[in-house]
Point group: C2
Chain length 451, copies 2
């Protein structure tokens, strides 16, 4: 019964995610044209190079409607990096005259052709994936491995798994999502033999889980999920996947198997909260929200989000250490970036307990006593084997802390620190409701947290 229901859901999902023949044909035509253009352009550069299509559209694992074409141009390994970059851009602009430059490991050209989003990326034609000069050099090896192993059936299941991961919000190996890459998704389907077997296995995972399809792993990893790259024994394909997202995957795998339904495959876009709704939530929760708002540093997401997370951790740790108990927190970014922290305690007394050394440690104890004996503190007095004083706190409210220079002593992301040095606002209590203007969806997710 549940088996039939599950199969019916998978069939319905396949209907939506399998590209139809027409889409496949149009894609192929576009790729053929672009490859021919690259080969033409390569005539004008004075080195031997070739072009290879990579990514999900190359492997037949793309989801219907995805329109990404990735072409990698492979240059000889003895070509200086600067020349590789020059030639790469020259060819990119020749193939995609309307394209523009972006920067990952190397600069590359991205643009549109016949409705497809095309990336034209230069790399080195290394001998093996372990001999790479930069991460992009590895991609063609991934492509070849999967072409050799993925049957059409498994490719179809990989599409379903991708759709599932998108639906539950953990697809993408970028450092914002910290989820599953396409390559990881396909390796899991290969390893377990299909979509359902992957889910069934995940329900019983006890992290750390280590998979090594080629049984050649040569390194240890701390990650919750370790999948040794079949093309590189020293690499964990799941390195960016967070512990939380592994647990989420386990939850949703169990949930789908227990209650198969298609809606899970639809990404969740909640209605944005209004300022009044934010206030209602805060009233109901009785918490003390604070937010630090600043201009978003001009960084790609893969650099921005790790810096936001580091900054948020630095701020919440510092608040916790000062007794402003953090209940929950999140970072959000658009034009403005926001470190949003919901506190259980936003104000402390004027005095705080400060313990000195044990009294039997004579030198330290006497220094401590002399330091405080004539001050305005309460004490020193003796509690257990130690001196204690109750001294005045430097800051009594979370707002005071966030507006003080001490904010810059916490571990902030480098570009976040620069942005804060430039300018920032501190919002407290009702003021944070104004964040609904711009972050209504993020706040809706925050106030209705789901697995």
């Amino acid at each position: 019964m549940s088996d039939e229901a599950f199969a019916a859901v998978v069939d319905a999902v396949r209907e939506r995610v399998d590209p139809d023949p027409e889409e496949r044909e149009r894609l192929q035509e576009a790729v053929d044209t672009l490859v021919a253009r690259v080969e033409d352009a390569l005539q004008s550069v004075p080195v031997e190079a070739d072009v290879v299509q990579v990514g999900s559209t190359a492997r037949g694992t793309w989801i219907a409607g995805d329109r990404d074409i990735d072409l990698f141009v492979r240059f000889p390994t003895d070509l200086p990096r600067e020349e590789l970059e020059d030639y790469g851009l020259e060819i990119g602009h020749a193939v995609l005259p309307e394209g523009h430059e972006e920067f990952a490991e190397h600069p590359y050209v991205t643009g549109a052709y016949d409705g497809f989003d095309v990336d034209l990326v230069p790399c080195y034609a290394v001998e093996s994936a372990t001999a790479i000069a930069s991460a992009v050099d590895r991609t063609p090896f991934h492509n070849r491995y999967l072409e050799d192993h993925l049957t059409p059936d498994l490719a179809a299941d990989a599409r379903v798994l991708k759709a599932f991961l998108k639906g539950i919000g953990i697809y993408g190996s970028n450092l914002r999502t910290q989820g599953f890459s396409g390559y990881l998704t396909e390796l899991l389907v290969l390893e377990y033999g299909g979509f359902r077997p992957v889910l069934a296995a995940a329900t019983d995972w006890t992290p750390p889980v280590r998979l090594d399809p080629e049984a050649h792993g040569r390194a240890e990893f701390d990650d919750a999920l370790v999948v040794i790259d079949p093309t590189d024994p020293e690499r964990n394909v799941a390195a960016v996947l967070s512990t939380t997202n592994v647990a989420r995957f386990q939850h949703h795998a169990r949930d789908l198997l227990a209650d198969p339904r298609e809606a899970v495959f639809d990404p969740d876009f909640p209605e944005p909260l209004s300022a009044a709704e934010v206030r209602d939530h805060l009233d109901r929760r009785g918490t003390a929200p604070v937010a630090v708002r600043f201009e978003t540093p001009d960084l790609v997401d893969d650099q921005l989000y790790p810096q936001l997370r580091k900054s948020l951790a630095g701020v919440t740790d510092a608040l916790d250490r000062r007794g402003f108990d953090v209940l929950r927190a999140t970072a959000m970014a658009d034009d403005a970036a926001v470190l949003f922290v919901e506190l259980a305690v936003a104000e402390r007394p004027a005095v705080e307990r400060h313990e000195g050394p044990p009294i039997h440690v004579r030198d330290h104890a006497q220094r401590f006593y002399e330091k405080y004996a004539d001050g305005e503190e309460y004490g020193p007095f003796v509690d257990g084997d130690r001196y204690v004083v109750e001294r005045n706190r430097e800051v009594r409210t979370a707002r005071e802390f966030l507006e003080s220079d001490a904010l810059f002593d916490v571990g902030l992301g480098a570009h976040v620190e620069t942005a804060l040095e430039d300018d920032y606002d501190v919002l407290v209590d009702d003021q944070v409701a104004t964040l609904a203007d711009g972050f209504g969806v993020e706040l809706a997710r925050y106030f209705a947290p789901r697995p």
Copy 2:
């Protein structure tokens, strides 16, 4: 220089604490009369018994003006306990016709004679201090040991040490003070050879400190100071001395040696605080005070204070666990008893974080998820490898907790629990200032804590 100053202080103190010949003579006359009366009274009981004077007035270590005479009546060890108690009281009333009964290990009679406070205590005439039937049986052995070892000079130094301990508030082995007993004081003077050597040694103590004058100790103890009883190898004479009071002694020993002055020997009786002064302190400190006030259980101090301390620890632990951070607390007792707790946080949000099991622990995790999935909590969501919910708190304020039945789930002293079951008040914020009426001195000490 410091040596001279120290000697001058000790000389001055001796002037005050050494009983003069007239006092000694009056005391001796009183003792002789009382002993004769006991021996007379013993004629009318049908067992062999004798009387022995014990305590500081027996050993010549009493401080001038102390007026305690302790007489122990020793009965044969084969006398049933009930008869010992009957004969003891009979003799007591005969010797002290105006006296009244009190209860320690046995009932005994206490009363006045010629301006002296007399205790007449029955005990068993055991063979040795290790063969005792109750703690009072040990006392005559302590007396004999000290008579054999204390020279007049050492006895004089013991008086100075007692005066010092009284001055700094830690003399007395009752369970309210948890300080130094007279016997312990005298043993320390014996062990180190005088008042100043005791102080000099204490400045360098690294607890646990173990002294064993007769080198016969047969047991291990957890206490900060261990002094094996010369008359009982299994007993620590300093067992009731608290860790805090050992540390206080070390502090004041260093202090007196560094800055000899007579004022230290005067007990500190601060001016009682007024209600307005209590409010001023609380305003300055910005704390949230709460107090539980109830009728003082009808117990001797040795039973009352341990119960108050236990109750205070139970209440402060429970408040801390609920996020009402305790800054400091104290128990006070007169006609009313009060558990006084100064909080850094008196109110919490409506919700609290509640962590579930790791998601990979499938059965537990699923039970947790199902329990909360349809409730009014926020979540369950995933954080790290666990489910988390934010559920409603049962109590949001310290007052609500103290007024709830949950107060009776904390570890309270038995008689305190009974008293609270009968009736109690909860005072918060400004209301606690009314405690100045009755506890002004205690509050003065609380708000000017000293070593």
